[in-house]
Protein backbone atom coordinates (compact mmCIF):
# COMPACT_ATOMS: atom_id res chain seq x y z
CA UNK A 1 0.00 0.00 0.00
CA UNK A 2 1.09 3.53 -0.64
CA UNK A 3 3.42 4.88 1.94
CA UNK A 4 2.39 8.57 1.81
CA UNK A 5 -1.05 7.72 3.12
CA UNK A 6 0.49 6.93 6.46
CA UNK A 7 1.96 9.40 8.81
CA UNK A 8 4.09 9.03 11.87
CA UNK A 9 3.20 11.08 14.89
CA UNK A 10 6.01 13.56 14.37
CA UNK A 11 4.96 15.21 11.12
CA UNK A 12 1.26 14.93 11.95
CA UNK A 13 -0.50 18.30 11.77
CA UNK A 14 1.01 20.09 8.84
CA UNK A 15 0.85 17.37 6.25
CA UNK A 16 -2.75 16.44 7.03
CA UNK A 17 -4.56 19.16 5.12
CA UNK A 18 -2.91 18.40 1.82
CA UNK A 19 -2.98 14.65 2.22
CA UNK A 20 -4.82 12.95 -0.64
CA UNK A 21 -7.98 11.03 -0.02
CA UNK A 22 -7.23 7.45 0.69
CA UNK A 23 -8.53 4.10 -0.38
CA UNK A 24 -12.20 3.70 -1.00
CA UNK A 25 -12.89 7.39 -1.54
CA UNK A 26 -11.73 6.77 -5.07
CA UNK A 27 -14.88 4.78 -5.78
CA UNK A 28 -16.11 7.45 -8.10
CA UNK A 29 -17.63 9.89 -5.64
CA UNK A 30 -15.89 13.21 -5.93
CA UNK A 31 -13.70 13.81 -2.90
CA UNK A 32 -15.21 16.41 -0.60
CA UNK A 33 -12.75 19.16 0.09
CA UNK A 34 -13.81 20.02 3.66
CA UNK A 35 -13.79 17.13 6.09
CA UNK A 36 -16.93 16.47 8.15
CA UNK A 37 -14.77 16.38 11.23
CA UNK A 38 -11.29 17.64 11.78
CA UNK A 39 -9.25 17.54 14.95
CA UNK A 40 -6.29 19.87 15.12
CA UNK A 41 -3.76 19.55 17.90
CA UNK A 42 -6.31 18.27 20.41
CA UNK A 43 -4.96 17.80 23.92
CA UNK A 44 -6.66 16.43 26.98
CA UNK A 45 -5.27 15.79 30.42
CA UNK A 46 -6.83 14.20 33.48
CA UNK A 47 -4.82 15.73 36.29
CA UNK A 48 -1.20 14.79 35.60
CA UNK A 49 -2.13 12.19 33.03
CA UNK A 50 -2.04 13.26 29.40
CA UNK A 51 -4.78 11.25 27.72
CA UNK A 52 -4.64 12.89 24.32
CA UNK A 53 -1.49 14.60 23.10
CA UNK A 54 -1.77 16.65 19.98
CA UNK A 55 -4.29 14.61 18.04
CA UNK A 56 -4.68 15.50 14.37
CA UNK A 57 -7.33 13.64 12.50
CA UNK A 58 -9.71 14.30 9.63
CA UNK A 59 -12.88 12.37 8.83
CA UNK A 60 -14.27 12.94 5.37
CA UNK A 61 -17.77 12.42 4.11
CA UNK A 62 -18.76 8.75 3.67
CA UNK A 63 -15.57 7.65 5.35
CA UNK A 64 -15.45 4.90 7.97
CA UNK A 65 -12.51 5.30 10.30
CA UNK A 66 -11.62 2.69 12.87
CA UNK A 67 -9.58 3.82 15.83
CA UNK A 68 -7.64 0.97 17.36
CA UNK A 69 -5.31 0.77 20.30
CA UNK A 70 -4.83 -0.80 23.68
CA UNK A 71 -7.21 0.14 26.48
CA UNK A 72 -6.07 3.36 28.05
CA UNK A 73 -4.71 4.63 24.76
CA UNK A 74 -7.34 7.39 24.71
CA UNK A 75 -9.77 5.94 22.15
CA UNK A 76 -12.93 6.51 24.16
CA UNK A 77 -11.79 9.91 25.37
CA UNK A 78 -11.19 10.89 21.77
CA UNK A 79 -14.80 10.11 20.84
CA UNK A 80 -16.11 11.83 23.96
CA UNK A 81 -14.29 15.05 23.13
CA UNK A 82 -15.83 15.06 19.66
CA UNK A 83 -19.30 14.87 21.19
CA UNK A 84 -18.34 17.50 23.79
CA UNK A 85 -19.03 15.05 26.59
CA UNK A 86 -15.45 15.74 27.58
CA UNK A 87 -13.84 19.18 27.33
CA UNK A 88 -10.40 19.56 25.76
CA UNK A 89 -7.38 21.43 27.07
CA UNK A 90 -6.06 22.66 23.75
CA UNK A 91 -6.62 22.42 20.03
CA UNK A 92 -9.60 22.70 17.73
CA UNK A 93 -12.42 20.35 16.83
CA UNK A 94 -13.98 21.39 13.55
CA UNK A 95 -17.39 20.04 12.62
CA UNK A 96 -18.11 21.01 9.01
CA UNK A 97 -15.49 23.72 9.40
CA UNK A 98 -16.80 25.25 12.63
CA UNK A 99 -14.82 24.98 15.83
CA UNK A 100 -17.14 23.25 18.28
CA UNK A 101 -14.59 23.28 21.10
CA UNK A 102 -15.32 26.99 21.38
CA UNK A 103 -17.13 27.72 24.66
CA UNK A 104 -19.73 29.76 22.77
CA UNK A 105 -20.83 26.66 20.87
CA UNK A 106 -24.44 25.56 21.17
CA UNK A 107 -23.53 22.23 22.77
CA UNK A 108 -26.96 20.62 22.43
CA UNK A 109 -27.15 21.74 18.82
CA UNK A 110 -23.82 20.10 18.03
CA UNK A 111 -24.80 16.89 19.80
CA UNK A 112 -28.01 16.83 17.81
CA UNK A 113 -25.88 16.68 14.65
CA UNK A 114 -23.71 13.80 15.88
CA UNK A 115 -25.00 10.32 16.60
CA UNK A 116 -23.35 8.34 19.39
CA UNK A 117 -23.58 4.68 20.31
CA UNK A 118 -22.04 3.44 23.52
CA UNK A 119 -20.55 0.14 24.55
CA UNK A 120 -23.37 -0.43 27.06
CA UNK A 121 -26.23 0.51 24.66
CA UNK A 122 -27.73 2.89 27.26
CA UNK A 123 -31.27 2.57 25.97
CA UNK A 124 -33.84 4.24 28.19
CA UNK A 125 -35.49 1.38 30.11
CA UNK A 126 -38.69 3.29 30.86
CA UNK A 127 -39.47 3.96 27.19
CA UNK A 128 -40.62 1.64 24.48
CA UNK A 129 -38.15 0.88 21.71
CA UNK A 130 -40.09 3.21 19.44
CA UNK A 131 -39.93 6.08 21.95
CA UNK A 132 -36.22 5.50 22.43
CA UNK A 133 -35.69 5.88 18.72
CA UNK A 134 -37.94 8.90 18.24
CA UNK A 135 -36.94 10.83 21.39
CA UNK A 136 -34.30 13.03 19.77
CA UNK A 137 -36.36 13.68 16.64
CA UNK A 138 -39.35 14.79 18.68
CA UNK A 139 -37.61 16.64 21.49
CA UNK A 140 -34.54 18.09 19.80
CA UNK A 141 -35.40 18.43 16.13
CA UNK A 142 -39.09 19.23 16.48
CA UNK A 143 -40.32 16.48 14.17
CA UNK A 144 -44.04 15.74 14.72
CA UNK A 145 -44.64 12.49 16.57
CA UNK A 146 -46.46 10.74 13.73
CA UNK A 147 -43.71 11.51 11.27
CA UNK A 148 -40.93 10.53 13.68
CA UNK A 149 -42.67 7.27 14.47
CA UNK A 150 -43.17 6.44 10.83
CA UNK A 151 -39.46 6.95 10.18
CA UNK A 152 -38.52 4.95 13.27
CA UNK A 153 -40.80 2.05 12.37
CA UNK A 154 -39.34 1.97 8.89
CA UNK A 155 -35.79 1.90 10.27
CA UNK A 156 -36.67 -0.79 12.81
CA UNK A 157 -38.38 -2.78 10.10
CA UNK A 158 -35.26 -2.59 7.98
CA UNK A 159 -33.07 -4.09 10.69
CA UNK A 160 -35.65 -6.78 11.40
CA UNK A 161 -36.85 -5.38 14.71
CA UNK A 162 -40.18 -4.03 13.54
CA UNK A 163 -42.02 -6.40 15.86
CA UNK A 164 -40.23 -4.97 18.87
CA UNK A 165 -41.21 -1.34 18.28
CA UNK A 166 -43.72 -1.37 21.13
CA UNK A 167 -41.67 -3.54 23.49
CA UNK A 168 -39.48 -2.29 26.29
CA UNK A 169 -35.71 -2.66 25.85
CA UNK A 170 -35.41 -5.43 28.45
CA UNK A 171 -37.29 -7.77 26.17
CA UNK A 172 -34.42 -7.57 23.67
CA UNK A 173 -31.13 -9.43 23.51
CA UNK A 174 -27.89 -7.47 23.79
CA UNK A 175 -27.36 -7.50 20.04
CA UNK A 176 -30.91 -6.32 19.41
CA UNK A 177 -30.55 -3.58 22.01
CA UNK A 178 -27.34 -2.39 20.44
CA UNK A 179 -28.96 -2.34 17.00
CA UNK A 180 -31.79 -0.27 18.44
CA UNK A 181 -29.18 2.06 19.97
CA UNK A 182 -27.61 2.45 16.54
CA UNK A 183 -30.99 3.16 14.97
CA UNK A 184 -31.66 5.69 17.73
CA UNK A 185 -28.38 7.39 16.85
CA UNK A 186 -29.13 7.56 13.11
CA UNK A 187 -32.86 8.35 13.39
CA UNK A 188 -32.30 12.08 13.14
CA UNK A 189 -29.90 11.73 10.24
CA UNK A 190 -26.64 12.84 11.90
CA UNK A 191 -23.73 14.22 9.91
CA UNK A 192 -21.34 12.02 11.85
CA UNK A 193 -21.72 8.77 13.73
CA UNK A 194 -19.50 7.93 16.70
CA UNK A 195 -19.41 4.27 17.70
CA UNK A 196 -17.55 3.55 20.92
CA UNK A 197 -16.67 -0.16 21.09
CA UNK A 198 -20.22 -1.07 20.18
CA UNK A 199 -19.58 -4.81 20.23
CA UNK A 200 -17.42 -5.09 23.35
CA UNK A 201 -20.31 -5.83 25.70
CA UNK A 202 -21.80 -8.45 23.41
CA UNK A 203 -21.82 -12.20 23.32
CA UNK A 204 -19.58 -13.39 20.43
CA UNK A 205 -22.69 -14.79 18.76
CA UNK A 206 -24.29 -11.34 18.69
CA UNK A 207 -21.29 -9.33 17.51
CA UNK A 208 -21.93 -10.21 13.90
CA UNK A 209 -25.44 -8.79 13.66
CA UNK A 210 -24.26 -5.44 15.02
CA UNK A 211 -21.25 -5.27 12.71
CA UNK A 212 -23.46 -6.18 9.76
CA UNK A 213 -25.60 -3.17 10.56
CA UNK A 214 -22.54 -0.92 10.67
CA UNK A 215 -21.44 -2.30 7.31
CA UNK A 216 -24.92 -1.56 5.98
CA UNK A 217 -24.66 2.02 7.24
CA UNK A 218 -21.37 2.42 5.45
CA UNK A 219 -22.98 1.19 2.25
CA UNK A 220 -25.64 3.86 2.66
CA UNK A 221 -22.95 6.50 2.94
CA UNK A 222 -22.76 7.26 6.66
CA UNK A 223 -19.68 8.99 7.98
CA UNK A 224 -18.43 6.94 10.89
CA UNK A 225 -15.69 7.35 13.45
CA UNK A 226 -15.49 4.27 15.61
CA UNK A 227 -13.30 2.52 18.11
CA UNK A 228 -13.18 -1.24 17.93
CA UNK A 229 -11.30 -4.37 18.86
CA UNK A 230 -12.73 -6.30 15.94
CA UNK A 231 -9.69 -6.33 13.66
CA UNK A 232 -11.32 -8.50 11.06
CA UNK A 233 -14.16 -6.03 10.76
CA UNK A 234 -11.79 -3.07 10.68
CA UNK A 235 -9.84 -4.67 7.87
CA UNK A 236 -12.92 -5.31 5.76
CA UNK A 237 -14.97 -2.23 6.37
CA UNK A 238 -12.72 0.66 7.42
CA UNK A 239 -11.49 3.12 4.86
CA UNK A 240 -8.75 4.08 7.22
CA UNK A 241 -7.37 2.67 10.43
CA UNK A 242 -5.94 4.97 13.05
CA UNK A 243 -3.68 3.50 15.69
CA UNK A 244 -3.67 5.38 18.95
CA UNK A 245 -0.83 4.84 21.36
CA UNK A 246 -0.53 6.73 24.65
CA UNK A 247 -2.75 9.52 23.38
CA UNK A 248 -1.02 9.92 20.05
CA UNK A 249 -1.85 8.89 16.50
CA UNK A 250 1.30 6.96 15.77
CA UNK A 251 0.18 5.31 12.57
CA UNK A 252 -2.76 5.57 10.20
CA UNK A 253 -3.71 4.55 6.71
CA UNK A 254 -5.68 1.99 4.71
CA UNK A 255 -6.33 -1.26 6.60
CA UNK A 256 -3.96 -3.37 4.56
CA UNK A 257 -1.09 -0.97 5.14
CA UNK A 258 -1.65 -0.53 8.84
CA UNK A 259 -2.48 -4.12 9.67
CA UNK A 260 -0.11 -5.95 7.34
CA UNK A 261 2.88 -3.66 7.27
CA UNK A 262 3.04 -1.92 10.63
CA UNK A 263 6.13 0.18 11.21
CA UNK A 264 5.76 1.61 14.71
CA UNK A 265 6.94 -0.89 17.34
CA UNK A 266 3.89 -0.23 19.53
CA UNK A 267 1.59 -1.13 16.65
CA UNK A 268 3.63 -4.23 15.85
CA UNK A 269 3.31 -5.32 19.48
CA UNK A 270 -0.40 -4.49 19.58
CA UNK A 271 -1.16 -6.45 16.42
CA UNK A 272 0.87 -9.39 17.67
CA UNK A 273 -1.40 -9.52 20.70
CA UNK A 274 -4.70 -9.24 18.86
CA UNK A 275 -3.37 -11.43 16.01
CA UNK A 276 -5.16 -9.48 13.33
Amino acid sequence: MSEPARTGSGEAGASRASRPEDGLEALGASPTPAPVLELRGVRKTFGEHEVLRCIDLAVHRHEVICVIGASGSGKSTLLKTVNLLEGIDDGEILLQGTDIADPRTDVDGVRGRIGVVFQQFNLFPHMRVLDNVTLASRQVHGVPRAEAEATARRLLERIGLGDFADAYPDRLSGGQQQRVAIVRAIASDPELLLLDEVTSALDPMLVGEVLDLVTELKRQGSTILMTTHEMHFARNVADRIVFLHRGEVVEQGPPAAVLDAPTHPALVAFLARVHA
Binding site: N83, L85, D108, G109, V110, R111, G112, R113, I114, V116, F118, Q120, N122, L123, F124, P125, H126, L135, A136, Q139, V140, H141, Y168, D170, R171, R184, A185, S188
Partner: protein
Protein backbone atom coordinates in the same frame (compact mmCIF):
# COMPACT_ATOMS: atom_id res chain seq x y z
CA UNK B 1 -47.83 -26.08 19.79
CA UNK B 2 -48.97 -28.66 22.34
CA UNK B 3 -47.00 -28.84 25.53
CA UNK B 4 -45.91 -32.41 26.14
CA UNK B 5 -47.55 -34.10 29.14
CA UNK B 6 -45.48 -33.68 32.32
CA UNK B 7 -43.31 -36.58 33.24
CA UNK B 8 -43.93 -38.82 36.23
CA UNK B 9 -41.13 -37.10 38.16
CA UNK B 10 -42.61 -33.65 37.53
CA UNK B 11 -46.10 -34.81 38.56
CA UNK B 12 -44.71 -36.17 41.79
CA UNK B 13 -42.92 -32.85 42.43
CA UNK B 14 -46.11 -30.90 41.82
CA UNK B 15 -48.03 -33.10 44.19
CA UNK B 16 -45.39 -32.54 46.86
CA UNK B 17 -45.46 -28.75 46.31
CA UNK B 18 -49.26 -28.72 46.60
CA UNK B 19 -49.14 -30.67 49.83
CA UNK B 20 -46.50 -28.36 51.24
CA UNK B 21 -48.60 -25.36 50.18
CA UNK B 22 -51.70 -26.71 51.91
CA UNK B 23 -49.75 -27.42 55.08
CA UNK B 24 -48.29 -23.90 55.17
CA UNK B 25 -51.73 -22.35 54.80
CA UNK B 26 -53.16 -24.54 57.55
CA UNK B 27 -50.31 -23.65 59.92
CA UNK B 28 -50.65 -19.92 59.31
CA UNK B 29 -54.44 -19.95 59.71
CA UNK B 30 -54.28 -21.83 62.99
CA UNK B 31 -51.48 -19.70 64.42
CA UNK B 32 -53.28 -16.49 63.47
CA UNK B 33 -56.48 -17.67 65.15
CA UNK B 34 -54.59 -18.65 68.29
CA UNK B 35 -52.86 -15.26 68.55
CA UNK B 36 -56.13 -13.37 68.00
CA UNK B 37 -57.93 -15.50 70.58
CA UNK B 38 -55.20 -15.05 73.17
CA UNK B 39 -55.11 -11.27 72.70
CA UNK B 40 -58.90 -11.07 72.75
CA UNK B 41 -59.29 -13.13 75.90
CA UNK B 42 -56.46 -11.19 77.53
CA UNK B 43 -58.03 -7.81 76.77
CA UNK B 44 -61.57 -8.81 77.69
CA UNK B 45 -60.43 -10.12 81.04
CA UNK B 46 -58.61 -6.95 82.10
CA UNK B 47 -60.20 -5.33 85.17
CA UNK B 48 -61.17 -2.10 83.34
CA UNK B 49 -62.48 -3.71 80.15
CA UNK B 50 -66.16 -3.00 80.86
CA UNK B 51 -65.51 0.73 81.28
CA UNK B 52 -63.22 0.92 78.25
CA UNK B 53 -65.71 -0.96 76.10
CA UNK B 54 -68.36 1.48 77.20
CA UNK B 55 -66.39 4.63 76.35
CA UNK B 56 -64.53 3.47 73.21
CA UNK B 57 -66.71 0.84 71.60
CA UNK B 58 -70.22 2.16 72.03
CA UNK B 59 -72.18 1.26 68.86
CA UNK B 60 -74.89 3.87 69.41
CA UNK B 61 -72.42 6.76 69.69
CA UNK B 62 -70.54 5.43 66.70
CA UNK B 63 -73.65 5.47 64.52
CA UNK B 64 -74.75 8.89 65.73
CA UNK B 65 -71.39 10.57 65.22
CA UNK B 66 -70.70 8.90 61.89
CA UNK B 67 -72.35 11.42 59.47
CA UNK B 68 -70.55 14.44 60.96
CA UNK B 69 -67.21 12.66 60.98
CA UNK B 70 -67.68 11.56 57.39
CA UNK B 71 -68.42 15.17 56.45
CA UNK B 72 -65.25 16.18 58.27
CA UNK B 73 -63.32 13.52 56.39
CA UNK B 74 -64.36 15.14 53.12
CA UNK B 75 -62.42 18.23 54.22
CA UNK B 76 -59.39 16.01 54.96
CA UNK B 77 -59.62 14.54 51.51
CA UNK B 78 -59.79 17.95 49.88
CA UNK B 79 -56.81 19.18 51.90
CA UNK B 80 -54.97 16.02 50.93
CA UNK B 81 -55.71 16.64 47.27
CA UNK B 82 -54.34 20.16 47.22
CA UNK B 83 -51.45 19.33 49.54
CA UNK B 84 -50.39 16.46 47.25
CA UNK B 85 -50.20 18.77 44.26
CA UNK B 86 -48.27 21.35 46.27
CA UNK B 87 -45.89 18.74 47.67
CA UNK B 88 -45.28 17.19 44.24
CA UNK B 89 -44.43 20.53 42.67
CA UNK B 90 -42.35 21.97 45.50
CA UNK B 91 -40.67 18.65 46.30
CA UNK B 92 -39.60 18.09 42.69
CA UNK B 93 -38.35 21.65 42.44
CA UNK B 94 -36.28 21.27 45.58
CA UNK B 95 -34.88 17.91 44.45
CA UNK B 96 -33.88 19.33 41.08
CA UNK B 97 -32.28 22.41 42.63
CA UNK B 98 -30.33 20.27 45.08
CA UNK B 99 -29.12 18.18 42.16
CA UNK B 100 -27.72 21.14 40.20
CA UNK B 101 -23.96 20.82 39.95
CA UNK B 102 -22.81 24.06 38.39
CA UNK B 103 -21.11 26.43 40.86
CA UNK B 104 -23.35 29.20 39.51
CA UNK B 105 -26.25 27.69 41.42
CA UNK B 106 -24.43 27.50 44.74
CA UNK B 107 -26.69 30.02 46.55
CA UNK B 108 -29.83 28.35 45.23
CA UNK B 109 -28.53 24.95 46.20
CA UNK B 110 -27.66 26.14 49.69
CA UNK B 111 -31.14 27.61 50.05
CA UNK B 112 -32.74 24.32 49.08
CA UNK B 113 -30.46 22.39 51.42
CA UNK B 114 -31.26 24.74 54.28
CA UNK B 115 -34.96 24.41 53.55
CA UNK B 116 -34.97 20.62 53.59
CA UNK B 117 -32.80 20.54 56.72
CA UNK B 118 -35.13 22.93 58.53
CA UNK B 119 -38.47 21.40 57.61
CA UNK B 120 -37.38 17.83 58.03
CA UNK B 121 -36.27 18.60 61.54
CA UNK B 122 -39.20 20.76 62.59
CA UNK B 123 -42.18 18.85 64.08
CA UNK B 124 -45.25 19.28 61.89
CA UNK B 125 -47.32 20.45 64.82
CA UNK B 126 -44.96 23.39 65.39
CA UNK B 127 -45.02 24.27 61.70
CA UNK B 128 -48.82 24.19 61.92
CA UNK B 129 -48.81 26.63 64.84
CA UNK B 130 -46.27 28.92 63.19
CA UNK B 131 -48.06 28.98 59.85
CA UNK B 132 -51.63 28.79 61.17
CA UNK B 133 -51.35 31.43 63.84
CA UNK B 134 -48.14 33.28 62.95
CA UNK B 135 -48.63 34.09 59.28
CA UNK B 136 -52.20 35.44 59.59
CA UNK B 137 -50.95 37.44 62.58
CA UNK B 138 -48.62 39.39 60.31
CA UNK B 139 -51.68 41.05 58.86
CA UNK B 140 -50.34 41.16 55.30
CA UNK B 141 -52.16 38.12 53.92
CA UNK B 142 -55.89 38.21 53.13
CA UNK B 143 -58.01 36.29 55.64
CA UNK B 144 -58.04 32.57 54.96
CA UNK B 145 -59.91 29.71 56.60
CA UNK B 146 -57.70 27.55 58.88
CA UNK B 147 -57.67 24.65 56.46
CA UNK B 148 -55.78 26.78 53.94
CA UNK B 149 -53.02 27.55 56.45
CA UNK B 150 -53.03 23.91 57.45
CA UNK B 151 -52.53 22.86 53.84
CA UNK B 152 -49.63 25.28 53.47
CA UNK B 153 -47.97 23.91 56.61
CA UNK B 154 -48.32 20.34 55.38
CA UNK B 155 -46.90 21.26 51.98
CA UNK B 156 -43.91 22.97 53.62
CA UNK B 157 -43.10 19.96 55.75
CA UNK B 158 -43.80 17.15 53.36
CA UNK B 159 -42.14 18.73 50.33
CA UNK B 160 -38.86 18.55 52.22
CA UNK B 161 -39.29 14.81 52.78
CA UNK B 162 -40.35 14.19 49.20
CA UNK B 163 -37.45 16.27 47.89
CA UNK B 164 -34.99 14.03 49.69
CA UNK B 165 -36.65 10.86 48.45
CA UNK B 166 -36.69 12.13 44.87
CA UNK B 167 -33.08 13.26 45.08
CA UNK B 168 -32.05 9.80 46.19
CA UNK B 169 -33.99 8.38 43.25
CA UNK B 170 -32.33 10.75 40.80
CA UNK B 171 -28.91 9.82 42.09
CA UNK B 172 -29.78 6.16 41.68
CA UNK B 173 -30.33 6.62 37.93
CA UNK B 174 -27.09 5.55 36.30
CA UNK B 175 -25.01 8.46 34.93
CA UNK B 176 -24.80 6.71 31.56
CA UNK B 177 -28.50 7.47 31.14
CA UNK B 178 -27.80 11.20 31.36
CA UNK B 179 -24.86 10.72 29.04
CA UNK B 180 -27.02 8.98 26.47
CA UNK B 181 -29.71 11.64 26.71
CA UNK B 182 -27.26 14.53 26.41
CA UNK B 183 -25.48 12.89 23.49
CA UNK B 184 -28.81 12.81 21.64
CA UNK B 185 -28.85 16.57 21.98
CA UNK B 186 -31.37 16.80 24.80
CA UNK B 187 -30.92 19.84 27.03
CA UNK B 188 -30.24 19.51 30.73
CA UNK B 189 -33.87 20.31 31.54
CA UNK B 190 -35.27 17.82 29.04
CA UNK B 191 -32.84 15.15 30.20
CA UNK B 192 -34.16 15.61 33.72
CA UNK B 193 -37.80 15.67 32.72
CA UNK B 194 -37.84 12.88 30.14
CA UNK B 195 -35.09 10.54 31.24
CA UNK B 196 -33.95 11.04 34.83
CA UNK B 197 -37.14 11.90 36.71
CA UNK B 198 -39.37 9.16 35.26
CA UNK B 199 -36.78 6.55 36.18
CA UNK B 200 -36.14 8.14 39.57
CA UNK B 201 -39.83 8.14 40.46
CA UNK B 202 -40.14 4.45 39.54
CA UNK B 203 -37.23 3.64 41.76
CA UNK B 204 -38.65 5.44 44.79
CA UNK B 205 -42.37 4.79 44.34
CA UNK B 206 -42.65 2.71 47.54
CA UNK B 207 -40.91 5.42 49.57
CA UNK B 208 -43.06 8.13 47.99
CA UNK B 209 -46.22 6.22 48.77
CA UNK B 210 -45.09 5.66 52.30
CA UNK B 211 -44.75 9.40 52.73
CA UNK B 212 -48.10 9.89 51.05
CA UNK B 213 -49.88 7.59 53.47
CA UNK B 214 -48.10 9.32 56.32
CA UNK B 215 -49.31 12.66 54.98
CA UNK B 216 -52.82 11.28 54.63
CA UNK B 217 -53.06 10.80 58.37
CA UNK B 218 -51.13 13.93 59.30
CA UNK B 219 -53.79 15.89 57.44
CA UNK B 220 -55.88 15.20 60.57
CA UNK B 221 -53.61 17.59 62.49
CA UNK B 222 -55.17 20.63 60.80
CA UNK B 223 -57.88 20.22 63.42
CA UNK B 224 -55.64 21.98 65.94
CA UNK B 225 -56.02 25.15 63.88
CA UNK B 226 -59.80 24.90 64.25
CA UNK B 227 -60.65 23.43 60.84
CA UNK B 228 -63.68 21.16 61.22
CA UNK B 229 -62.26 17.97 59.76
CA UNK B 230 -62.83 14.35 60.78
CA UNK B 231 -60.73 14.62 63.92
CA UNK B 232 -62.36 17.90 64.95
CA UNK B 233 -65.83 16.46 64.30
CA UNK B 234 -64.96 13.49 66.46
CA UNK B 235 -63.78 15.84 69.18
CA UNK B 236 -67.04 17.78 69.02
CA UNK B 237 -69.04 14.57 69.22
CA UNK B 238 -66.92 13.40 72.13
CA UNK B 239 -67.54 16.65 73.99
CA UNK B 240 -71.29 16.19 73.54
CA UNK B 241 -71.49 12.54 74.58
CA UNK B 242 -68.51 12.15 76.93
CA UNK B 243 -67.71 9.06 74.90
CA UNK B 244 -64.49 8.42 72.98
CA UNK B 245 -66.02 6.18 70.32
CA UNK B 246 -66.11 9.01 67.71
CA UNK B 247 -62.28 9.09 67.79
CA UNK B 248 -62.21 5.42 67.00
CA UNK B 249 -64.63 5.98 64.14
CA UNK B 250 -62.44 8.78 62.73
CA UNK B 251 -59.34 6.63 63.13
CA UNK B 252 -60.89 3.72 61.29
CA UNK B 253 -62.03 6.00 58.49
CA UNK B 254 -58.44 7.22 58.03
CA UNK B 255 -57.26 3.64 57.81
CA UNK B 256 -60.00 2.78 55.33
CA UNK B 257 -59.15 5.62 52.94
CA UNK B 258 -55.47 4.73 53.00
CA UNK B 259 -55.98 1.04 52.21
CA UNK B 260 -56.94 1.22 48.53
CA UNK B 261 -54.01 3.51 47.82
CA UNK B 262 -51.57 1.16 49.45
CA UNK B 263 -52.91 -1.74 47.41
CA UNK B 264 -52.95 0.26 44.17
CA UNK B 265 -49.35 1.36 44.68
CA UNK B 266 -48.25 -2.18 45.27
CA UNK B 267 -49.95 -3.24 42.07
CA UNK B 268 -48.46 -0.40 40.04
CA UNK B 269 -44.98 -1.04 41.34
CA UNK B 270 -45.30 -4.72 40.56
CA UNK B 271 -46.52 -4.08 37.05
CA UNK B 272 -43.75 -1.62 36.29
CA UNK B 273 -41.17 -4.01 37.57
CA UNK B 274 -42.54 -6.81 35.46
CA UNK B 275 -42.67 -4.64 32.39
CA UNK B 276 -39.13 -3.34 32.68
CA UNK B 277 -37.34 -6.39 33.92
CA UNK B 278 -38.85 -9.45 32.42
CA UNK B 279 -37.05 -12.45 33.81
CA UNK B 280 -34.04 -12.37 36.03
CA UNK B 281 -35.77 -11.21 39.19
CA UNK B 282 -34.88 -13.26 42.22
Amino acid sequence: MTVPAPSQVELERRLYRRQRGRRSIAVSVVSTLVVVAVVWIGVVNTPGWAAVQQSFFDPRTAVESFPDILLGLWLNIRILFFASIGVAVLGTLLAVVRGLRSPVFFPLRMLATGYTDLFRGLPLIIVLYLVGFGLPGLGVFPRQPPEVWGTIAIVLTYSSYIAEVLRAGMEAVHPSQRLAARSLGLSHAKTLRLVVLPQAIRKVTPALMNDFVSMQKDVGLVSILGAVDAVRSAQIAQAETYNFTPYLVAGLLFVVISLPLIRITDAIARRQQQREQIGGTV
